[in-house]
Structure formats: structure tokens, C-alpha cells
């Protein structure tokens, strides 16, 4: 039975894959490794805000343990702890509207570590802080906020987003189908000085890490971690491709936890192992014709960050024959690279070309491009109200979807980590009404 938070009636999700169920045990092991490193000082612990331009492949090649702000907050939320942590941060004057990932983690830092329920996810404090603007402006600003608190060595990479001018959309033959790609990043030419600038930032990062760790980067190891990261990305993207099958073999309940390995462990054998097992399971399900849910009627696309404290919503949807067959959020974390290329070139490419660094139009096109191959019936947006890059994107995408496909978008206000604003009854009512409408559309189409 799903666990419930007494105040807000939120639920955990039910996972279908065996390999996904095991992820939390990997996280526990990783925590132990961090705690040991903190005790004996054998490895540095780095907290990261804004992935991609801070490639964890480099950190693993240097035996530095990465910890992502977003992942920490998501786990706290899934464990129903984020609300308390957010309240601690807000009591220090931080605004209600601010990013709840940062407020969750800062609340943990400012007092949340002392509560007993944190046992098992009691992440040790950072030795260094690393940040970049690769997702949003708030990430590096949040890292600066933590720097003021911890006063530890801090590095911020500056990185340019893909300019709308570079989009082929500015050309006359603009058409999303021909130009966008699913999950493998922005594929159009990027100006050389953009790549050069990001390469400078990555070299700066390496110099910083060498300085604080007192160890030189082993470039042979970096090549290995880049190759492993790329191999894992291929496996993860194969899972995404397999989800095009009808019925869809795996839903968001399993995909969302699978984000973690690409986020923390890109470049480690462990990441490849996890994705390989998951891929094998998904492949087997496709071969057997097994779906993620017993009666697949509605195939949905999910945009935005899910409310981590209530992944049980996916179960609610499953009970109504609706399955999430694709989401944008997981595409953030993996990137296929060329192992024969210079690793810095590879990582600069990964940093620049991933979807949250593209122009808004390109990101919208990525969604449009999934409508047909994934046989989408509808699109649901988790409108993470504290997050500018999602809340500001959703009306844009809704406009495009309606215009190009006539597909209606359901926008649900549900913060990623703060259950206080979440209204379970209203969200479920709106889901019910939306599915009813999709059902009618299907019936009309059938006639």
C-alpha cells in the first residue's frame, strides 16, 4: 500500500521493473561511500548545481564524489521530508516562490540534518561547490548562496545557451520534423566560439579540481569515463525508443528513478550496469507484448518535473488506463558521445547540446517530434510553480501543440518538492476531466 503523508495525502509511485526497484540500494551504497570519504578524508565531496557544464565524468576520473542538488532534493521530497526543510529555509527569509530544490537542500543544511527521519539519506556536507547556468540562471546563484554559507572552494562555469539565431527555424524551410531529434541533443551546427568558450570552462574546471584535490587528472581515465557515459546513454535512449511500442513497456514510475544514475554516476560501470539491466527487462517486456499497465488506453507525454512527493499520481493514472510513454526531464542527463574524439570536445558538446540549453523553440519542437512516434493521445505538464524554465515553457509548448497537432495540453500546478501548494483533489479532478475529453476525442476519431 502506498505510504501517505499525514498532512498532504501524497503517495509514492509503484515501480514495475526489478532493476528500478534496486536503485535505492545503489544510492544507499553511494551514501556509505560518501560518509566514509567524509570520515577519512580520502575523497572530496562536490555538491553540484547545474549539471552538464560540470561533467561528472571528470569528477569520477579524479575520484571526486559528485552530489547533485536536484537529486538530493528529489530524494528528500520522495521521502516526504522536503516540506519541513523548505520551512526551515523560509524561516531565514527565503521567499515562498523560490526554487524548492534549493530551499529543500538549504533547509537540510540549516537544521534538517538533525531530524531522525533523515537517517539513510544523510548526505555529508560538501568539500567543494560547483555550479553552472546550463539549466537555469538560478542554479549558479543558488551555488553562490551555499558558498556564502559553507565558505568552501567554489567554481562557477559560465556557459552560453544555444542562440535562437542558430536554429534552422529562422530559415524558410522551418519544419520541426526535419530538424529536431529526440534525446540525442541539438544537432545543428554550433558556432566555433561557443564550443571554444565551453571548452575553456571545462579546462578551468579541471584546473580548479586539480588545485583543490592536489591530484592531476588522468586523461586516460577521463577517456574511459566518457566512453562509459556514452555507452550508458545509448542504453538509456534505447529504453526510450522501446517505449514507442504499443503497449508501452515502461512508464514514468520507472523512468524517473532511472534519471539518477545518469546524473550522479555518468562515467562509472555502475551506471552502465543499471541501464543494461533495465534495458534488458524492457526489451523482454516488448518481446512478450507486456505493457507497463494492464489496459493501455491513453498514451501520455509528460513535460516538467514530477511532484516527487507524490509519484503515486502515476498509479492514479494507471488505474484509469493512462500511461506516461515519454517525458522530457530524463533527456536532460544523458548524451551519446564519440569515444574517439577528444574528451573535452565531447563534454563541451554534451554541455551545449542538451535540451535545456537549446533555444525555447527547439525544446518545444522536441516535444512535437514525439507526438507521432510515441502515438501520443495527450500531454500533461507538471507545472512546477517555483521553476521558471518549466512554468514559462508550458504555455509556449501548449501553443505549439495545439497549433500543429490540435492536441490539448493539461497544465497541472504541482510543485516539484513543495507539497503545501499541491491540491490532490483538484489535480485528480482535472486529470479525470482531461481523460474524459481524450476518451471522447478517441471515440469521435473512431467514428
Amino acid at each position: 500500500m502506498a505510504e501517505q503523508n499525514s498532512k498532504h495525502k501524497t503517495m509514492r509511485g509503484k515501480k514495475g521493473l526489478q532493476s528500478t526497484k534496486k536503485i535505492f540500494s545503489y544510492i544507499k551504497d553511494y551514501l556509505q561511500e560518501m560518509l566514509k570519504a567524509k570520515r577519512d578524508g580520502s575523497k572530496l565531496i562536490a555538491w553540484i548545481g547545474g549539471p552538464q557544464t560540470i561533467p561528472v565524468e571528470i569528477l569520477h576520473a579524479m575520484d571526486i564524489l559528485p552530489q547533485q542538488i536536484d537529486s538530493m532534493a528529489a530524494v528528500f521530497a520522495a521521502k516526504q521530508l522536503s516540506e519541513r526543510f523548505i520551512q526551515i529555509t523560509e524561516s531565514k527569509g527565503y521567499h515562498h516562490d523560490l526554487c524548492t530544490y534549493y530551499k529543500t537542500v538549504y533547509g537540510y543544511v540549516l537544521g534538517g540534518q538533525d531530524i531522525p527521519e533523515v537517517e539513510g539519506i544523510n548526505w555529508p556536507e560538501p568539500d567543494i561547490l560547483l555550479g553552472s547556468r546550463s539549466v537555469c540562471v538560478l542554479h549558479p546563484l543558488g551555488i553562490r548562496m551555499l558558498q556564502r554559507h559553507f565558505n568552501v572552494p567554489t567554481f562557477i562555469a559560465d556557459d552560453p545557451l544555444i542562440h535562437p539565431r542558430m536554429d534552422v527555424h529562422n530559415e524558410k524551410d522551418r519544419w520541426y520534423k526535419e530538424h529536431s531529434t529526440v534525446g540525442v541533443g541539438y544537432k545543428h551546427p554550433i558556432k566555433e566560439y561557443y564550443l571554444e568558450y565551453v571548452k575553456v570552462q571545462i579546462r578551468r574546471l579541471i584546473a580548479f579540481l586539480e588545485d583543490v584535490s592536489g591530484k592531476k587528472l588522468d586523461w586516460g581515465r577521463l577517456r574511459e569515463t566518457v566512453a562509459l557515459s556514452s555507452k550508458a546513454a545509448e542504453l538509456f535512449l534505447e529504453i526510450q525508443d522501446l517505449r514507442r511500442n504499443v503497449p508501452c513497456p515502461v512508464g514514468a514510475q520507472d523512468i524517473m528513478p532511472l534519471i539518477g544514475p545518469g546524473f550522479y554516476w555518468a562515467g562509472l560501470e555502475m551506471e552502465v550496469e543499471i541501464y543494461q539491466r533495465a534495458r534488458d527487462e524492457v526489451r523482454e517486456k516488448v518481446e512478450k507484448g507486456e505493457g507497463a499497465i494492464p489496459n493501455e488506453r491513453f498514451r501520455l507525454f509528460f513535460e516538467g518535473i514530477p511532484p516527487w512527493y507524490n509519484l503515486g499520481l502515476f498509479t492514479y493514472l494507471a488505474d484509469r488506463d493512462a500511461v506516461s510513454v515519454a517525458e522530457t526531464y530524463p533527456f536532460e542527463f544523458v548524451h551519446v558521445m564519440d569515444p574517439d574524439r577528444d574528451p573535452i570536445d565531447n563534454l563541451a558538446d554534451k554541455a551545449l547540446r542538451y535540451m535545456y540549453n537549446t533555444s525555447v523553440q527547439e525544446r518545444s519542437d522536441l516535444t512535437l517530434n514525439q507526438v507521432e512516434p510515441y502515438h501520443l493521445d495527450g500531454v500533461i505538464v507538471w507545472n512546477s510553480i517555483c521553476c521558471k524554465i518549466f512554468t514559462l515553457f508550458s504555455p509556449f509548448m501548449r501553443y505549439d501543440l495545439e497549433k500543429e497537432f490540435g492536441i490539448p495540453t493539461l497544465i497541472l500546478d504541482a510543485d516539484q518538492a513543495d507539497p503545501r501548494e499541491y491540491n490532490d483533489a483538484m489535480v485528480k479532478n482535472r486529470i479525470d476531466a482531461y481523460l474524459e475529453m481524450l476518451d471522447k476525442r478517441k471515440q469521435q476519431k473512431a467514428v
Partner: protein, 371 residues
């Protein structure tokens, strides 16, 4: 004295007499959003660059395309454009200041029908290795784009003239700031003069402001609590007038459309003018809470403390736009730092209007406490 400049400019471009005059004479104009846009280049192309600062009109149509979980500042600009409020502009240049402006630029390109659109990709970490070169390259592309629009070359001479013209304008702003901090003119007068400068063709603004300053026909503010105001963009003088109506005076601020305009002039000692501009914008604008430059927070605090000392400030009011996360993120540590130095602070959250009863009541109590 009343400067009455409000009859000569307006935050909404369609109601801005300075813009209407310019257009009547066949000129072209470009809206700028926000302070990171190098206006010197636009002016050198023979175009009139004017800052977009939003307005207080009710937002309705923009809700169709834009989230209400964003600051009113950007929502009001989109609303104005959708209602024809930007029709006198030939285009708009967006810098990558914050994510609200980034997303505004994206939807703008799609639904606002103006001949020219540009997105200037500025670095956020001003002192990161490579940032100045990168921004210079971006400016080169910007120059090319403006040359295409204007149909003429932006020569080194015209760019140098433009930088020098804006230096004269900066010098006017500095003088206005000195008069204000010396309590020779009120906060609202200083803001009026500065906003006029941002929304008027620079050569006209320099001439007019120089004359006003040299005539010196100002009415000193009434004796009363001296307030410093911090925060984001205000489209008008409301906050200044409100504090004055309560018996106080905003003797200093760090608004990017008023106090921070009184910045250092651009040092033209190197040959490459675009590199000079790149360095200037990345270094001068580091107080903006959107910047991630090392030492930025301390620099902002130092600036505030300097003004507090110079103006014998009694208390600080934070006026923060709702959903403006860079300012919201600075607030707790900044207010704590001010409290540590014994300076009283007040936070007011701003959306459409500053004249709501709760804001007025809180400001009234604060000004009374400082009396």
C-alpha cells in the same frame, strides 16, 4: 521645482513623446531589455535605443502565451506589445539577464510582429576566463545584424562617438546622483531625470539634462527620514512619490534604471572598441543579482554601504518583484548583512501596483519608525 519631464517621456513606447518625435522625423528605434544591452552600438547604427521598463497596465492577453508565475515586469511588456504598445519600435533586443527575459524573448519572437528581433547572449560570470572574448564575439554578430537592419556600416568612428556620447550621459547621471545624495534634489526628481535619459534619444537627453543640471533650479527634498531603496525594475516614480508622501525621501537606490545608471564612464584607452564594451558591461553590471561573477554579492553590499554612508541613510527598503528569483535569493543574506551593521530594513513585494494598502501601511510604519 517640478521638472515636468513626464510629459516628454513615457515607459510605454506608444505613449512616449520622445519616440513619437523621433519616428516623425524618420528615425528608427530599438527597445532594449535590459541593462546588459550595449546601447552604444545601437546608437552608432543611427538607431534610437530605449530601455523597456514595463508598465502598470492590467495583464490579460499575455496570459494566453505567458505564465503568471513570472514577474509583472516582463508580463506587462508582453501585454503592451500584444496591444500595440510597441508598434512605434522597429524591433527589440533582449539580453540573457534572467530566465523570465529569456522566455519572454522566445514567445516574443513567435507572437509579436516587429521587423527586428535580437537575442544577445551575455555571460553571467563576468570574470570567468573567456567571458570577455565570448561577449565580444556576440557583439560582433550584433553589429553585423544591426548593419543589415540599418543598411550602413557601423564604423569605429561612429562607435567611438557613440561611446563618448553615452559617457557624457553617464556623467549627467553621476551629477544627478551627487545632487540627490547631497539632498539638493529629491529621489523622485533624480529618478525622473534618469528615466527621461533612458527613454530619450541620447544626444537630446545629454543636452537637456546638462541644461537642467547647470540651471540648478531644484527644490531640495523636505527634511525627513532618508531611505535607500533596493530591488528590480520600476516602470515609474510611484515608489519615490509614495515614500515622499509619507514624509521620507529615497536618497539612494540600486535600481538598474535609476541609481546604477550613475556608473563610471567607459575608459577608452584600448583600440578594440567592442572589447572595451564587452569588458565594461561584464564588469560594471556585476551588482545585478542575475550575475554569478565571483565577489558579486560583496560588491553589491559595498555599493549599498557606500551609499548609506554618503547619504546618511536611516533605513533600507527592499522592493522586490514577485517571482524575481535573483533578487529574492539575494535578499536574506543582504538584509542580514545590513542588520549586522545596525541598519533597519523593510521588505515590500511588488507586483502590478505599489499603491496597495498593505504596502502603503508598512512603508508608513517604517518611515515613522525612522523619524
Amino acid at each position: 521645482m517640478s521638472l515636468n519631464l513626464q510629459t516628454e517621456y513615457h515607459p510605454d513606447p506608444s505613449k512616449n513623446p520622445a519616440l513619437a518625435d523621433w519616428k516623425r522625423n524618420g528615425g528608427r528605434a530599438i527597445g532594449c531589455l535590459c541593462a546588459m544591452v550595449p546601447v552604444e552600438i545601437i546608437n552608432a547604427a543611427g538607431l534610437f535605443p530605449l530601455r523597456l521598463v514595463g508598465n502598470r497596465e492590467t495583464v490579460e492577453r499575455s496570459r494566453e502565451y505567458f505564465s503568471n508565475y513570472s514577474c509583472y515586469f516582463v508580463q506587462s511588456i508582453l501585454e503592451s506589445a500584444l496591444n500595440g504598445g510597441c508598434d512605434l519600435l522597429d524591433g527589440v533586443v533582449f539580453s540573457y539577464t534572467c530566465d523570465c527575459i529569456r522566455f519572454l524573448s522566445a514567445i516574443w519572437e513567435k507572437v509579436v510582429d516587429l521587423p527586428y528581433f535580437y537575442f544577445l547572449n551575455n555571460p553571467h560570470c563576468g570574470n570567468a576566463e573567456g567571458a570577455e572574448t565570448f561577449f565580444m564575439e556576440e557583439m560582433k554578430n550584433f553589429v553585423n545584424s544591426l548593419e543589415e537592419l540599418s543598411g550602413g556600416e557601423i564604423s569605429d568612428e561612429s562607435l567611438l562617438d557613440s561611446i563618448q556620447l553615452y559617457n557624457r550621459l553617464r556623467s549627467c547621471y553621476q551629477r544627478i546622483d551627487e545632487l540627490r545624495i547631497g539632498a539638493k534634489i529629491s529621489g523622485s526628481q533624480a529618478a525622473e531625470l534618469t528615466l527621461y535619459g533612458l527613454m530619450s534619444p541620447p544626444s537630446i537627453a545629454v543636452e537637456r539634462l546638462t541644461r537642467i543640471i547647470s540651471e540648478g533650479d531644484f527644490t531640495p527634498p523636505a527634511e525627513g527620514p532618508r531611505v535607500m531603496a533596493l530591488g528590480g525594475v520600476h516602470p515609474d516614480l510611484d515608489i519615490f512619490h509614495l515614500v515622499e508622501s509619507l514624509g521620507g525621501n529615497i536618497i539612494a537606490d540600486d535600481f538598474c534604471m535609476v541609481g546604477r545608471c550613475a556608473e563610471d564612464e567607459i575608459d577608452i584607452t584600448e583600440d578594440d572598441l567592442l572589447f572595451i564594451l564587452s569588458r565594461f558591461y561584464l564588469n560594471q553590471r556585476t551588482q545585478c543579482p542575475c550575475m554569478t561573477t565571483e565577489g558579486r554579492f560583496q560588491r553589491r553590499l559595498d555599493y549599498i554601504m557606500k551609499k548609506i554612508k554618503l547619504g546618511s541613510v536611516d533605513g533600507v527598503v527592499f522592493t522586490i518583484q514577485r517571482y524575481c528569483d535573483p533578487h529574492q535569493l539575494d535578499y536574506p543574506d543582504l538584509s542580514a548583512a545590513l542588520a549586522d551593521r545596525g541598519i533597519p530594513t523593510l521588505l515590500v513585494e511588488v507586483e502590478q501596483s505599489i499603491y496597495s494598502e498593505p504596502i502603503k501601511n508598512r512603508l508608513e510604519a517604517f518611515v515613522e519608525m525612522l523619524s
